[in-house]
């Protein structure tokens, strides 16, 4: 049936008879599932929904900014739109994206476990997510909130007319979902690895998930308590952050960024893990400098907790604290550089194919490098004075979060989609979408670097006329980007019924998850596997391509 030329999979595949998708069919069996794979898919559906909502807000914003005047939206409506865009994209999409979908679905398979350590807690995390997201939807229906996703005091605590308590409550609840997911993953990785799978034999994606979980567990409680204090202050006017009552608004910023800077690494670290998997698989080559990539994930996670003050250089922080934060921020560049250079060295002398996941991975390296390097501008104190709170910052973090995290998310989705569903998506369309997203993304956000350095502040819905040209470029790019994001939605849905059967391992990749049938059986591994080999042992697979093709896990 299927012929995937670039991978040489010529054999015909059938869908396996029994798998986790057809084990039970009722809605109840999904809503009460303890299966990590199903929980992963529940997250996939729910975060996709919120991606569409957040994307709609983004579209409205770009439409308004196509002209320098306020013609589409009133000031308050615009402020609500960018706030809801930020809250939905960060709390409801990006933070759960790769960890909750792929961490849940793939990570236990990768370490040879039957499930995560606490399946009930895992499902409870999803319900917490849904509860928080519902609060978010209610916030929107009641008119939204206009504080920016950062909730800076005293605007949020005293002056805003939006539903601050409701929105903060939504973020608070989602925070607990995140904490419990992280905790579950850490215990799973510590305690549930298959025999023989020592720490330095773990796939790099698992390292990425572990580092991310570390941040979720350590950082999220701090933002939770900050939001509690904010809600208490707004409700009762205690004055913890209100200067007219003796409080200090900068304290809020410290507490907020103590979590929210590492939160950026929550989004990007698992993405880096995905890229390591994809680059290895589509270069058919052992990952160069495995230990360095693994350790750099942990280093980024730990260092990430020392750098939050670089958001506060001109916020009234002491210049001495600023200097310490600037110095420590510079150190993060090193593990990031290590990763990029090691990926580069992995491609060297590989056997490189250009399947869709690899296209996203190459695009990730390009966009993330730009995002990372422009981050240096913001970490350098003298430059940050000028670019802080301008579109330069907006462009920078979109390069990291959209160009980085979402590229990686799409790479992961295309890479593991056959594993999720047992079916292939149409390769031509998926490559086309990848190109559209890449082009649209750069057209949207690169002009924002320029307009940012020219001085356009963020969160402005009217702006000086001489910047209209750059803003029109940006809005035009956003249109292309939007189309690029809709195409995968369509062909993934299409492939559920009509995609060709993929077989257990369409990419001929290494890793325990590819040993199982696609979709995997309900209880993953019938017998606990024993791992004897290094990760990414691509040398050996190629020696016996035939063996791999005929292997049927259920009968071994």
């Amino acid at each position: 049936m299927s012929t995937l030329e670039s991978n040489g999979v010529v054999a015909e595949h059938r869908m396996p008879r029994d798998h986790f998708l057809n084990a039970t069919h009722t809605v109840k069996s999904w809503l009460l599932t303890m299966d990590h794979k199903r929980v992963g898919l529940l997250y996939l559906v729910s975060i996709s929904l919120f991606f569409l909502i957040g994307g709609t807000f983004a579209g409205i914003i770009r439409l308004e900014l196509a002209t320098p005047q306020a013609d589409l939206l009133e000031a308050d409506q615009y402020n609500t739109a960018f706030t809801m865009h930020g809250i939905v994209m960060i709390f409801f999409f990006l933070i759960p994206s790769i960890p909750a979908v792929f961490g849940n679905f793939v990570m236990p398979l990768m370490i040879g476990a039957k499930d995560v350590a606490f399946p009930k807690l895992n499902l409870a995390s999803w319900y917490l997510y849904i509860f928080g997201a519902a609060l978010g939807v209610i916030t929107t229906l009641f008119g939204g909130v206009d504080t920016g996703w950062t909730f800076y005091t005293p605007y949020s605590s005293t002056y805003s007319n939006g539903n601050v308590i409701l929105a903060a409550g939504a973020a608070f609840v989602i925070g607990f979902s995140s904490i419990l997911t992280g905790l579950n993953f850490m215990v799973t990785i510590h305690k549930m690895r298959a025999p023989g799978l020592s720490w330095f034999k773990m796939p790099l994606f698992v390292w990425g998930i572990y580092s991310t979980s570390l941040i979720m567990v350590l950082g999220t409680p701090v933002v939770a308590i900050t939001l509690v204090l904010l809600m208490v202050e707004r409700g009762l006017h205690i004055g913890i952050f209100d200067p007219s009552l003796g409080g200090d608004p900068i304290l809020f910023q410290h507490l907020f960024w103590f979590y929210s800077h590492p939160a950026v690494y929550i989004m990007i670290l698992p993405g880096m893990g995905v890229i390591s998997e994809v680059i290895g698989a589509f270069s058919r080559k052992r990952i160069f400098g495995y230990e360095f990539i693994a350790m750099s994930s942990v280093a980024i996670a730990v260092l990430g907790f020392f750098v939050w003050g670089h958001h506060l250089f001109v916020a009234g922080q002491s210049i001495y604290a600023g200097m310490v934060f600037s110095f420590l921020t510079m150190l993060v560049a090193v593990p990031s550089a290590i990763k990029v250079f090691n990926w580069m060295a992995t491609i060297y002398k590989g056997s490189v194919s250009y399947d869709t996941p690899m296209l996203y991975a190459l695009s990730f390296i390009f966009l993330f490098s730009i995002g990372g390097l422009t981050g240096v501008f913001l970490a350098v104190m003298g430059l940050d004075i000028h670019v802080h709170d301008t579109y330069f910052v907006v462009a920078h973090f979109h390069y990291v979060m959209v160009g980085g995290a979402i590229s990686a998310y799409l790479a992961a989705l295309h890479f593991w989609w056959p594993k999720f569903t047992g079916r292939m998506y149409p390769e031509g369309w998926s490559r086309f979408a990848a190109f559209m997203i890449f082009a649209g993304f750069n057209l949207t956000f690169f002009p924002q670097f320029i307009v940012g350095y020219l001085g356009m502040p963020r969160r402005y819905h009217v702006y000086p006329e001489e910047w209209q040209f750059l803003n029109i470029l940006s809005s035009a790019g956003a249109t292309v980007l939007a189309v690029g994001f809709v195409i995968p939605l369509i062909y993934f849905l299409w492939s559920l019924k009509s995609g060709k059967a993929s077989g257990p391992n369409p990419w001929r990749a290494t890793g325990l998850e590819w040993v199982l049938s696609s979709p995997p059986p309900e209880h993953n591994f019938p017998k606990t596997p024993i791992v004897r080999e290094e990760p990414y042992n691509y040398g050996k697979i190629i020696d016996n391509p035939a063996e791999e093709e005929t292997e049927d896990v259920e009968h071994v």
């Binding site: 052992r286 009234g316 210049i319 350098v380 940050d384 009217v462």
Partner: protein
Amino acid sequence: MNQEFQFHPEMASTFAYEVDMLYFFVVAVSVFFMALICVLIYAFAVKYRRRTPDQQAEAQIHGNLLLEIIWSVIPLGLMMIMFAWGAYLFFRVNQIPEGAMEYYVVGKQWMWHIQHPTGQREINELHVPINTQVKLTMASEDVIHSFFIPAFRIKNDVIPGRYTTMTFEATKTGKYHLFCAEYCGTEHSRMIGSVYVMEPEDYQNWLSGGVRDQTPEEAGARLFSQLNCATCHSDRAGARGPSLNGRYGTEELMADGEPVLVNEAYIRESILNPRAKIVSGYQSIMPTFQGQITETNIFNLISYIKSLPVTEGTPQ
């Protein structure tokens, strides 16, 4: 202001030039590394592309310690250069020059109130003479704002409850954008204005043409007597409050034995929260003026207190 399309903002202050030098350096480093990454990755990707479906990698390489060290240390070194350069600039711009012209800026939703050393007031406009060091002392009446002049490459948050400062020296006449850069509510994007850099004689003409109110000192003096401050703060023997003559810039001993520098922040605190720090030898009897006096009037009082000369018999 240039209305045409530009790629790079105007450089109109001494600091703008220095920031741009650093900016170009970081841009150069970034472009170099982007070029390196792109050329190598895409060259590898093309050169080692898979030609037949079963093609293997040419080699399986575990890694190379020397390479890892090289590509850790070189970025680290570059980062340290950028850090040091950036920190140096940051300290420089935060250093308040002696004898700078002092403007007071009050941000409130959604406008900027600016008061000149000579008493002129403007809203959303700032006129400054060229080649003159200017110091802005800034406060907010409500939420956090941020005073941002892109052409000067400077920005600082304007925070309720305390003072922040910034300095610049304009080098090019013209009209430049003034923005609020910290999101402050509904009309945030209309909390904008213009900075006019003028030749000294034009500036003088502008000053004389403008409606001149009292100077801050004069306004402060009037407030000082209106609020009956002198009832207690005087040189008289047995006065209930410490004399304020010639105290600005000196160190005062507090009741708890700590010395405190008498500066703007301290005077402001003493007006709004008199109990916070009590000068040694005096009782805590001063009432608070919180809510009864605007930020602008506090500036005026401070200007007046600053102007008070050292008098005979003032114990130093």
